[in-house]
């Protein structure tokens, strides 16, 4: 693979490198500060699309089925991302609800929608309307997506409550685990790499 950008500059220490072709599995590291300069980018538009579709399906399952549920003598309570957000709506504590809603629901949803938009246009060889702003937004919201933290939180909640009540994990927890994996795979192809598909895409 020939890198699209002939010159690489380290994000963390500003050292300049001339890019060399990378083989599958290769990672280019900065000699001065060990930062990742570039990864082999083998993702095709099709595989990107497949991953985004898979992520969207897992996201839907995670939000439509209970992640955790408790059943005591016929009285059942359920929880998923949305129930968790709603339970934080107590007076002004709802700012925490807002934080949780953004990081575990809104931002992953926006990420998937924008990637789908960009990749669908790339599939037919066109540059999507708003490509620049979309790529900038994807870059900015990336640190704020917290699906994996939600997964760990759900696991902690199970162990925490299991001493007191009969708690069971629903289909949603598997969906969250799968979503975490797929988003991580998409995340490895960071938005900067998606610019590599841009030259092939006519303006």
């Amino acid at each position: 693979m020939v890198p699209a950008d002939p010159i690489l500059i380290c994000r963390d220490c500003d050292t300049v490198y001339r890019a060399i072709p990378l083989r599958p599995g290769d990672v280019a590291l900065c000699r001065r500060c060990d930062a990742v300069l570039a990864r082999y980018f083998g993702a095709k538009v099709e595989s990107g699309l497949a991953l985004v579709c898979a992520a969207a399906i897992f996201f839907a399952i995670a939000n439509l089925t209970p992640i955790l549920s408790i059943d005591i003598a016929g009285i059942e309570t359920k929880a998923n991302i949305w129930f968790a957000v709603r339970s934080l709506q107590h007076g002004w504590i709802c700012v925490a609800a807002l934080g949780l809603a953004c990081t575990t629901f809104l931002i992953p949803a926006v990420q998937m929608a924008l990637l789908l938009w960009v990749l669908l246009f790339a599939r037919v060889g066109r540059r999507p309307p708003g490509f620049g702003p979309i790529m900038r937004l994807l870059h900015q919201i990336r640190p704020w997506s917290m699906t994996e933290v939600f997964l760990l939180g759900a696991l902690v909640a199970i162990v925490k409550l299991a001493n007191w009540v009969p708690i069971t994990a629903g289909a949603g927890i598997w969906a969250i685990a799968a979503l975490t994996t797929v988003l991580a795979l998409l995340g490895r192809c960071d938005p900067a790499s998606w610019w590599l598909i841009a030259p092939a895409v006519k303006a």
Partner: protein, 205 residues
């Protein structure tokens, strides 16, 4: 091996959004990246001031986050307000040392690591220090990576409150401490994101 040189030596600027190496000459008066139109600068403008500001906000919010209760439970055993540290101690006493350790790491160790690490980075950058530049850059990446895991306690409290809604057996409700804790996570992440690690390597007169 050819000597390592910085972008400035070649008249280049990195676009931190799309990773393009931009020549000083093609930046123009607008100071935007020709590829993605992001604002670009040789170094993030007022990076240390923003980092320090958000860091102080984080430390300030961390106090009520720990002093105020994060959850209120009521049930057969009476009513209790629990704080973050109280919750950890409860797990520890009841024998769940692993969960106690996990919450301790996410809610106490990670925020403190961030406060100390960002403080250290700011101090050494201000002093123009050449001490352990490689390790300090690694420290910055660790701070960036661990940042959002502190959200763990917010999620656990939210899920517990959503699930514990049994009128007879017990109910759980969030309390103000958790909102402050959420704020700590957000502002310390903003602090880390504001920091420009290239300052570690700069040698100013």
């Amino acid at each position: 091996m050819t000597p390592l040189r910085q972008a400035l030596d070649f008249g280049l600027v990195l676009c931190r959004t799309c990773g393009l190496a931009v020549s000083h000459l093609s930046v123009g008066a607008e100071r935007r990246c020709p590829r993605c139109q992001s604002r670009i600068a040789h170094r993030t403008p007022s990076s240390t001031e923003m980092t320090l500001g958000w860091l102080i906000a984080g430390i300030v919010f961390y106090i009520p986050a720990n002093l105020l209760p994060v959850m209120h439970t009521s049930g057969l055993l009476g009513e209790t307000d629990s704080t973050i540290v109280g919750g950890i101690l409860e797990f520890w006493r009841s024998g769940d040392w692993d969960i106690a350790l996990l919450i301790f790491i996410a809610s106490v160790a990670v925020p403190f690591t961030k406060f100390i690490a960002i403080g250290l980075l700011l101090l050494t950058v201000r002093k123009n220090s050449r001490w352990e530049q490689r390790q300090r850059t690694g420290l910055y990446r660790i701070v960036e990576f661990i940042g959002y895991w502190s959200m763990l306690d917010v999620i656990v409290v939210a899920l517990t409150s959503a699930l514990m809604q049994f009128e007879v057996l017990g109910t759980a409700e969030p309390r103000a401490g958790i909102a402050f804790f959420c704020a700590v996570v957000v502002v310390t992440m903003l602090s880390a994101l504001s920091f420009d690690p290239r300052l570690i390597w700069d040698r100013r007169a």
